[in-house]
Symmetry: C2
Subunit: 209 residues, 2 copies
Amino acid sequence: MHRVTAADRRDLPLLTGGAPRERADAARNRTKVLAAADELFRRNGVAAVSMDDVAAAAGVGKGTLYRRFGDKSGLAAALLDERESELQAAILSGPPPLGPGAPPADRLAAFVSAYLAYVDAHLDLVALSQTASPGARLRTGSHGFWRQHCGLLLTAAGVPDPDLRADTLLAALTAEQVRHWRRDERRPLPALIDAIDAIARRLAVPPSP
Amino acid sequence: MHRVTAADRRDLPLLTGGAPRERADAARNRTKVLAAADELFRRNGVAAVSMDDVAAAAGVGKGTLYRRFGDKSGLAAALLDERESELQAAILSGPPPLGPGAPPADRLAAFVSAYLAYVDAHLDLVALSQTASPGARLRTGSHGFWRQHCGLLLTAAGVPDPDLRADTLLAALTAEQVRHWRRDERRPLPALIDAIDAIARRLAVPPSP
DNA sequence: TGAATATACGGACTTTAGTCCGTATACGTC
DNA sequence: GACGTATACGGACTAAAGTCCGTATATTCA
């Protein structure tokens, strides 16, 4: 397991420091792979596409696929990168209550609602990114972001064990759990959002003195 | 995915109704497989043992292994069966607060603490039973039991969306999450128990009118 | 006890993830 | 533009999960 997120290895002159820049053929292949994977996933469904399929469709060797994306979950993460970034931007600098400015409990509720909607919108891809290898979810770069965000809000809210509460909330929002709620139990998304909103608010209530 | 729990197929005259009883050679093989798997898992660690290893050690064909246990997670579930049953018995008819008699919030807190200790005590095996195939955890027979128990307690506590709160609590206590807390973050079990106890109590608080 | 039949056995086979390494190519340098 | 080196390529290879089906055996019933 190599875990190379899309943000690594890319040519980011201002950020990569002394790291050697990505070779032109490598960049071209990364693009080809992402396009092919996106197309295949859309057409056949995530579950029905193997890594060989992706490699073949991209006109690239399997080794290239794995060198660039580490494993299957890394490929999924790379495809999700853009959508993820939008949510992250909204959190960091968008309007409240998702962005800065609202009280912690409101921001937390806004986050879990938005995150649930995000997971739901990309269920299979998120599932792939979280479950391709055991523990994949907790090692994702973006997971660190969501976790820190929740942790800081819960800290600001003054509750005990803010990090564990953050983990609890995110654990409830794994693709596996959301898929079960949505597909097996056929719960409508708005109902789920309301419920998870309420749960988040409960967990943000400081203990009475 | 066949999902045959250890409790199925076994010869339980009073419960199996019209189902045909298990053949003698089948029962013998089940025993041999469980013993071999237990031994191998103990000696080499769960991760290092393949299904071929188990089949070979049990002196049994691979087909037999899969017919009896469905898949790898089913084998793990069968090995956990006994320990699980103890906890289930304590819940159904043991002394309070785990057993009947205590207020719902206390029972819920007692349950999550006990369940966390159970998961921790058998981390790798529980992980295997939950993650061998995607969605395995939610399809486990015992998961239904834990879920119903939490759901009933939360209903009794008068909170909204008791089932979703039950799912949230159990999602926080997946082997994957517990392993992360215990092994990656090196959190001591008692601290985790205290924290999850508090979280459960928070989720059992009915909304103020 | 001796068919008849349902059930179980076992291992070859398929599929897929992920690794390895000899070969090829892009890039910096003269 | 040629050269040397670091980087990347690709596909054969390995390992492990899970399937399939022809064969064998337990059980039942006469």
